[in-house]
Every structure is written in C-alpha cells, then in structure tokens.
C-alpha cells in the first residue's frame, strides 16, 4: 500500500489575534496538530497599545483543507479574524532578506552590480564582504540569493512574508 498525496494550492493568510502569551504556540501548534503545513510565518504587534498582532502565514493545501484551516483558526478564542489574502485577490506581499556575501576583485564588483539591479542596499561592508538588504516578493529574493551564491554567498537571514490587501479598506 502507498500513501496518496493531494494537489495543493499556496495561500497567504492574515490572522489578527490578541497579543497574549502562548498565541504563537496556539497557532503554530494547530498547524502541526492537524497536519497542515507552514511555509512561512511572521508575527508582530501592530496596535498602538500592544494588544493586537498580525500573523501572516503562508500555507499550501487543497481547497477543502484550506477552508478547514481558516475555520479552525477562527475557532481559536484569541483570534479576531482570518483573511485569506490569496482568495481575496489584490494584495501586496513582501519579504526582507539580509544577504552576506564575501569575495574580492571581480566577484565584489559583480555582487555590487547585481545588487544594484535588484535594488538591494548595502548595509554593512568590510574589505572582503558586504551585507545587502533586499526587499520584494519571495521569487525576487530567491533569485537574488541564488545569484549571490555564484559570487560568494556566506549566509542569509529572511523575515518570511508579510502581506496586506490593496486599496483603502482594511481586509
């Protein structure tokens, strides 16, 4: 017997929660407990009084499971609302990466040239290394990082995706 795999779609969810201790464990644990996957997860406080956080989760699942994920999230007591930004349509997704690249001579110049094309800023430099700060969609960052790999990538730190709906209304 073999275990069957289902076709999955990638969705970005925005979850507005009460900023209470354990909330992250509650959300992340729900995903592991019910066998849902998490590709990216970011949390930060977004209110003036530190009471509300926005959790942005990128997950992939079949349409039916996606519906369950949202219903299960909404069921958690400290959750205010869950917005499926992917289903909603127009929204902006961004990620920030800090990319440390080493090298001298031609490699150094090439790294700087590429950084310019990708609008990456130099935020630290030594005679043999740079740290670039780059923002954009996941794909852009992926490409930038893979280009840097060719010219001397040392290490990368990424924030994971944050996202927000377009237009003047809150989603």
């Amino acid at each position: 017997m073999h275990i069957k795999e289902e076709t999955k779609e990638r969705h970005t969810l925005s979850v507005i929660v009460d900023n209470e201790p354990g909330i992250l464990a509650r959300i992340a644990g729900l995903f592991t407990a019910r066998g849902y996957n998490i590709e990216s997860l970011t949390v930060t406080d977004i209110s003036e009084d530190d009471l509300i956080s926005r959790i942005t989760i990128v997950t992939s699942a079949s349409a039916d499971v996606m519906d369950q994920i949202i219903a299960q999230l909404e069921r958690l007591v400290p959750v205010h609302k869950v917005v499926d930004l992917t289903a909603l349509g127009p929204h902006v997704e961004r990620e920030l990466a800090l990319v440390k690249v080493g090298g001298t001579g031609d490699h150094r110049i090439e790294a700087l040239r590429l950084a310019d094309v990708y609008r990456a800023r130099v935020v630290d430099a030594t005679t043999s290394s740079f740290i670039f700060e780059v923002t954009g969609g996941t794909e852009k960052i992926d490409t930038f990082v893979s280009l840097m790999r060719e010219v001397g990538l040392i290490e990368v730190a990424r924030t994971g995706i944050v996202a927000i709906s377009r237009g003047k209304e809150a989603a």
């Binding site: 017997m1 009460d18 201790p21 354990g22 464990a25 509650r26 644990g29 729900l30 407990a33 039916d64 519906d67 369950q68 219903a71 299960q72 909404e74 069921r75 958690l76 007591v77 400290p78 959750v79 205010h80």
Partner: protein, 582 residues
C-alpha cells in the same frame, strides 16, 4: 471597598457565584491552598475520586446528564497529566467542563521544579481554551470567562492553570456582569434566508432523512422537543449518531435506529438512498459516513451546526447553516407552519423503509445455554425502562449492543465516550451522573476489560453512598478487538483475551458493594431484578457468550450498502487499504 482575598478564596467564591455545586478532584501540593479554602466553606461539595482521570469522566457524566458544566480540581504535574485523557474525551464529545489545575509558583515555572509539568502546553490542543493565571487580580475574570467559553457555542473543556503563589497572594474579587467577549462570539441565530431555503428543500423532498447528533443534546432538552415537532409536521424518518441517542424517542414510528458502522440496515440504507439529508448537530464522523465517495450519493445535504469547522470538514454540503440547532429547528418549524406546508406524501419512501426494516438487522440468535449479550441488554431495558434510567457505558461491543438494544426515549440519559472511545469512562461517568441526579437509576453497562481501567472508583461510590449499578457483560475478551481480528486478521487473537480476571463478586464485596453473578439465561431476569431492588451500589458479573459479535457492521472504509449482517460469514483477512483504517 471590598477586602482583598487570597486567590484560593477568590476561586471558591467565583465558583459559588457561577452556581457550581460539585467539584470532582484529588489533592496535592500545588493545590493545598485551594483545598484549605474548600475546607472552610460548605456551599461547594467536593467529591474525592481515586484517580484524576476519573474526576474528569465523573465531571463529564455530571455535565451530560444535567446540562451543567462539570468541574474538576487536580494538582500540578501528575494530577494534571492524569486528567488529560478525560479532557481530550470532553473535547471530542463536546462536553462542557472546567478543569482547575495547580501549578508550581510563578518564579519556579520552567525550572523543572517538583511536580512541574507544562500543563498549558500539554493541554493546548485538547482543550477548547486554556489559561495560565499569573496574578490573583485576573483570577476572578478568568474563571467567569472560562465557564462562559466551556458552556457556550460548541461546548468543551477549558483548563485554568493556577500557580501556587497566585492561590496565596491576595486581590479584590468582584463578580463580573454578563460576558461580552471581544473575539469569542458564537453564532446562535441562523440567517433567516437559509432557514427558508432549508424549509423549501424539505418541503420538496421525496426521500428526506433527519440525521441527528450530539449537538441536539448539547442544545438542551427543548431542542429534543422541537425535533419531535419538526419530525411530526414533516413526516420524515429520523436516525441518530451514537452521541445523539435519546434526542428522538425510540418508540416513535419515525425512528430508524442508530446509523453508521453498527447502525441499523434501515438507517444506513435510508442515508444511502435519500434525496435530502438534514444533518442536525452531527459532524459526519468516519464511523457514520463509511467510505466517503459512496456516502449518500443521491442526497442534497443541509447541515446545521454551531461550529463552522464542522461544516464541509469531511463531507461537502449544499446548504450550511451556522446556528444553535434548537433555535434553528424552531425557526424551521415556524417557517414551515407560516407557509402552510403540508406533510409531503412520503408513502413510497416509507414503503421502501419498511422493506429495509423487514431485514431485522438487529437480530441475534437466541440461546438457552448461555446468556446472549444482546439479550442481556434487552432484558435490562425491559426491567428498567419504566424508571427512565441513565445509562453509561465503557467502550467495546457492550457499548454498541447497548446503543442498539437499549431504547432511549429522552435526552441526557445516554452517556458514552464516542469520539475518543475511552475505556474506563463508564464507572466514573455513572458516579458523576448519580451525583447530579440523586434519585435516578444509574447503570454502567461495562465490559470486563474496560471496567478494570477505572475499577478503583468503586471506592468513590461507596464513600458517597451512591447507588450506582454496574452491569458487566463479561465475555472474557476485549470483544471489539477480537471481532476486528476475526474480520481482518483471520482470527489471530493477538493479546485480546482477558486473562487473569479478578473475581468481580469478591472485588465488589471488598469495596463494600453488593456483588452478583449470573451465568444461566434462566436466571437473568431475576438477577437484574435483584440488582435493581438491592439498595446501594451493586455489581453484576453477567457471564455472556464469549464469541458473540456485534452486527450489523459496516467494515471500516466500506460503503453503507456493504453492510455485514448477522447471517453473513465474515471471518477472513482484509487487504492493506482496509487494515490501514481505524
């Protein structure tokens, strides 16, 4: 200015304000301040169980039989971990319960202190919600909020973990007003247009079935009454899950019996051939649906449930309605009558159902040599039905036979562990039910294996002089396991024989119970009578046919129409796909 009180006193006062009469618990270091506060008052009665798991099941039994939340008090570490099974059980079966756990002092949390366990972490996903209270100022509000969450919407267990220093430190307590939670607001009233659509679908249906579940019991006794009315005015047949038994009277002509894996032929065939299924507070569990792609293939489905996550979880429905099912049924009845719908002509449908009924799927062979377990249940029902008893069960064949052969007429009389299927549930649940219903006849229908999982609770019943009756269908096997081994593994009975059984009669006597034994079918009725007529707790060791199997049965993962009836020869080996299903 009100004076400050210790956290322990605040707890006791808040529980009193909430109308709590009984707490099931077990003391220990981390709850000593609370036990001292309990000692000093008289309004709350503490029931000392013999194992924390039993406290949780007793609270479940109390809750399910009274409609009030069950309350549990246990110490930190092992006290809390022992309670986890019952907490999970309550989550699966939607039982309102509040569990108070002691915790090590706040400054010791995280240091692997004596009897420290991460109770909040451990119970996060087996509770509806949980709290760690780090200050006595928050305690009163948290307790009131916890009861609100446990009892409203889809009921469930809530854990409140209270560090020992918080029990001792002082703060002011004030009884809060009605709770308006900022995020938690279950929807109880259905959207009117959806109710209207449901009524029109029902009025147009030729082969409708009401598929009712535990949610109707959760919605309170009034919901069971309105279900009867809805069935009466529409004339449609009614089936129920294991958890919903009693919501609709088994004596009604419209009753099809339970559906699902061990449900009747008529209930499962009606689901399979229906053109409309109205799911009322039921959650399309795998024991009910069988093979999903063959489930009710011809039916449009309406699903009324208070929890949106129950909707479209396993089965896609055509008309989801999020509401309290009692309120929604009331609305449906009103709209039906308002629109002057008449009962549809369902005679062709009923004629079909009669043919299925004629299969007599609950048939079992009679015997004069040994007691047939099904007969034991029937006799028990005949002898006790005039007293409208409360029945609890353990888990196994005896549980299914009880569901099939004990006919329930009203809600809150049938207490069983359905979702988690916890052996050891029945005796403590019976104790809880007896405490909540002092004048009721409460019987735990047990198996000889299950009963040993919480057998220590015999002492609890003795201590509080609870006249609980324990009726053990002793087949000397973990019968349900043996049955699956027979069907799936060519009768290789691996570890399913109940070896080295105690002498249950002597055991009963050792605990101060009356013990009876019956082996001959000719003595069965007399033994049951003597069980009922003997004051105080009575255990009956009812020796039944050892190899009887529970039918009908839809094997795991099979369609409703692939039901095995009693007469089928069913022993054999199943393929890997079937073996992989629970």
């Amino acid at each position: 200015m009100t004076a400050e009180k210790s956290g322990a006193d605040i707890l006791v006062e808040a529980l009193t304000d909430l109308g709590v009469e009984i707490v099931f618990g077990y003391p220990g270091g981390a709850v000593l301040p609370i036990y001292d506060a309990i000692f000093k008052q008289t309004r709350i009665k503490h029931i000392l169980v013999r194992h924390e798991q039993a406290a949780t099941h007793a609270a479940e039994g109390y809750a399910r039989s009274t409609g009030k939340p069950g309350v549990v008090l246990v110490t930190s570490g092992p006290g809390a971990t022992n309670a986890v099974t019952g907490i999970t059980d309550a989550l699966m079966d939607s039982i309102p319960m509040v569990v108070i756990t002691g915790q090590v002092a706040t400054h010791l949390i995280g240091t692997d202190a004596f009897q420290e366990a991460d109770t909040i972490g451990i119970t996060r996903h087996c509770t509806k919600h949980n709290y760690l209270v780090k200050s006595p100022d928050r305690l009163g509000d948290v307790i009131h909020e916890a009861f609100h969450i446990a009892t409203s919407g889809r009921p469930g267990p809530v854990v409140i973990d209270i560090p020992k220093d918080v029990q001792v430190a002082t703060a002011k307590y004030r009884k809060p007003g009605a709770i308006q939670h900022k995020t938690y607001r279950p929807q109880v009233k259905a959207d009117q247009s959806l109710i209207e659509s449901a009524v029109e679908m029902l009025a147009a249906a030729e082969r409708p079935v009401f598929y009712t579940g535990g949610g109707v019991i959760n919605a309170g006794p009034a919901a069971s009454q309105i279900l009867r009315e809805l069935a009466r005015i529409t004339g449609a047949p009614v089936t129920s899950t294991l958890m919903g038994l009693g919501a609709f009277p088994a004596s009604s002509d419209q009753w099809l019996g339970m559906l699902g894996m061990h449900g009747t032929y008529e209930a499962n065939y009606a689901m399979n051939k229906a053109d409309l299924i109205i799911a009322l507070g039921s959650r399309f569990d795998d024991r009910v649906t069988g093979r999903l792609d063959a489930f009710a293939p011809h039916a449009k489905k309406i699903h009324i449930d208070i929890d949106r996550s129950s909707i479209n979880k396993t089965v896609r429905v055509d008309l989801p309605i999020i509401a309290d099912v009692g309120r929604a049924m009331e609305d449906m009845v009103r709209v039906w009558k308002g629109r002057q719908h008449q009962k549809n002509d369902l005679s062709a449908w009923w004629k079909q159902i009669e043919e299925w009924r004629a299969k007599k799927s609950l048939y079992f062979p009679a015997s004069t040599k040994e007691i047939m377990p099904q007969q034991a249940i029937k006799s028990l029902w005949e002898a006790t039905k005039h007293r409208n008893p409360i029945i609890t069960t353990e888990v196994g064949q005896h549980q299914m036979w009880a569901a099939q052969h004990f006919n329930f007429e009203s809600p809150n009389k049938w207490l069983t562990s359905g979702g988690l299927g916890t052996m050891g549930y029945g005796l403590p649940a019976a104790i809880g039910a007896q405490l909540g219903n002092p004048n009721a006849l409460v019987i735990d229908i047990a198996g000889e294996a299950s009963i040993q999982m919480n057998i220590q609770e015999l002492a609890t019943a003795s201590q509080y002089r609870l006249p609980v009756k324990l009726f053990i269908l002793n087949n000397e096997y973990m019968g349900m396991v043996r049955q699956w081994q027979e069907l799936t593994y060519s009768s290789r009975y691996s570890e399913s024989y109940s070896e080295s059984l105690p002498d249950f009669v002597k055991l009963a006597e050792a605990y101060g119970w009356t013990g009876l034994r019956v082996e001959d079918p000719a003595d069965l009725d007399a033994c049951i009578q003597s069980m009922i007529n003997t004051d105080g707790p009575v255990l009956v060791d009812c020796r039944v046919a050892k190899l009887a199997n529970c039918f009908p049965m839809i094997p795991s993962g099979a369609a409703h129409t692939d039901m095995m009836l009693h007469s089928d020869n069913v022993s054999g080996e199943m393929d890997d796909e079937a073996k992989a299903l629970v």
